[in-house]
């Protein structure tokens, strides 16, 4: 497909219904423009926010519960230790457990640092620049998220495509078994129950939680809305929840990409870029929007 056609296809589909077979054409509309735009903006926001977030985390690679930091009792901590033979080890302490994580966590690239250079932005220790990246992309993420929320409310995007019907709930067990067997045969291009649940929890739980716990780390926002701080059990708890939720979003992204790779990756990718996928040539071909 030429770039020109790809661009033309990308901008097509404003206001057309989703998942409706378009009999006049050889391709079906899978994702509308706002969905596709939000998807790719989110991808970039999440990459930058994650990498710059790990840079910020590295300035003090320890997490606590409560309002203040009890320095002798973090629930997660990364540090370096010199062994008896003089060599330096990276250590990750999770609660009472300690793991040697040399080269990845605690000590990597011959320097003492939480996360390694290849997952932080900038790669070297540079907290102020990490913060500058983080806040710019946090605004981008929040604004595009708010615009998409308005669009989704207006069109009933989530109610129509993601709300679980009684049948979905009853089929949940079967879906889990199918996923465990790595069988992703979805029905008629609609989302299955597990997909619906995971997308709903990302959009309505994880993403808002990232924004709110992020704001909770701001002393000015704490003054504006002290009740938010109480909701999460204090600033250090909010910081921990921010980290845990980010981690769960990484897990989601890994599973999401794996699912795409396991179910016609090029077709899926084309669907999310142009909005359209080729019509199925035979009924035996599995199809599942990821």
């Amino acid at each position: 497909m030429s770039t020109h056609t790809a661009v033309r296809h990308f901008f097509r589909g404003m206001g057309m219904p989703e998942h409706t077979p378009d009999h006049g054409r050889s391709r079906r509309l899978r994702h509308r423009l706002p969905v596709r735009a939000w998807h790719w903006i989110n991808l970039w926001c999440m990459i930058v926010l994650l990498l710059s977030g790990l840079q910020i985390f590295n300035a003090h690679p320890a997490l606590y519960w409560g309002s203040a930091s009890h320095f002798d009792a973090p629930w997660l901590e990364m540090y370096a230790m010199r062994g008896a033979d003089g060599s330096v080890h990276g250590v990750t302490a999770l609660g009472p457990w300690q793991f040697t994580t040399t080269g990845v966590l605690g000590y990597s690239g011959e320097s003492v640092r939480g996360f390694p250079a290849w997952v932080t932005l900038p790669s070297y220790q540079f907290l102020s620049m990490g913060r500058v990246w983080h806040f710019f992309f946090a605004w981008l993420f929040a604004i595009s998220g708010a615009l998409f929320a308005l669009y989704a409310l207006w069109t009933g995007h989530f109610r129509r495509n993601f709300w679980l019907s009684g049948r979905d709930w009853r089929g949940l067990g079967r879906d889990i078994i199918n996923h465990l067997k790595l069988r992703f045969h979805a029905h008629s291009g609609k989302y299955n129950s597990l997909q619906k649940l995971s997308y709903l929890s990302v959009v309505f739980v994880a993403l808002p939680l990232m924004i709110v716990t992020g704001l909770c780390m701001s002393p000015t926002i704490n003054a504006a809305a002290p009740w938010l701080l109480d909701l999460f059990g204090g600033r250090q708890s909010a910081r921990s929840i921010h980290f845990i939720t980010a981690f769960s979003l990484v897990l989601f992204a890994v599973v999401h990409v794996a699912m795409v790779l396991l179910s016609h990756p090029l077709r899926q990718l084309r669907g999310m870029i142009t909005g359209r996928v080729p019509r199925r040539s035979s009924s035996s071909e599995p199809e599942s929007p990821s």
């Binding site: 203040a68 500058v132 605004w139 002393p219 504006a224 600033r235």
Partner: protein, 270 residues
Amino acid sequence: MSRRPPSDISLTRRTLTRRTLTRRTLLQRSLLGAAALGLAGCDRLSENDAVISLLGSAETLNLKAQRLLAGRESLAVEYPASMISPVFRPNGTVDPQTALYRNLAANDFADWRLTVGGLVNTPLALSLDTLRSMPARTQITRHDCVEGWSAIGQWSGPVLGDILEQAGVRPSARYVVFHCMDQLDGEHNYYESIDMVAAFHPQTLLAHSLNGEPLPVGNGAPLRLRVERQLGYKMAKYLKGITLVAHFDDIQGGKGGYWEDRGYTWYAGI
């Protein structure tokens, strides 16, 4: 994209598989290469002035949005005494080595004066005894370091706004600059600046006590600033003077603070 060129049709399934694998390897290698390039590229972007200035525009948004949400008067959370941190972690300079500081400290700061000058009607020079005898505010607040950790302490001292009113701030003054006696890099004195909203906030103190005791050296003796709705680096320690200014372009690096001159945002509300 996914359509193979017509010449491939004649290939056997075996060759096709091998070909796909080669493509996959190629794809993997190019992805790894792209990741490495991406990292190097991001580092270069992080050093590009135009990129820094574009990304830095978020600071203005942070300031305006937060001022809108928090207003002028909303108070930082105050905690019960039971939540005071057992040790209030000192950070940055913890034991100033400048001759000025050593000499003043040797005499228990008896000769130390806090000067208030610049765009004021009545310049002041306040001794530690004078500051201690002034009406004080005591507050138990949380200190948030830009690094991510927090500590809770009880601070006492005169409200900055009272001292500024005593000096009489001229209408042309827009910022309050705090000059310090310590040098983190052994060359430049620490300094900070805040605007009038932060300066006249009811919880903005010149603290001479921590947890009921005279301020320890590690936490900024004899006097430090508390700006409770911002991060720790705004709260200058080892104060020697305050000046009211219309702009801070001509002070040291011109960005309004020691860390600001080294890349940190001037507005530290988040």
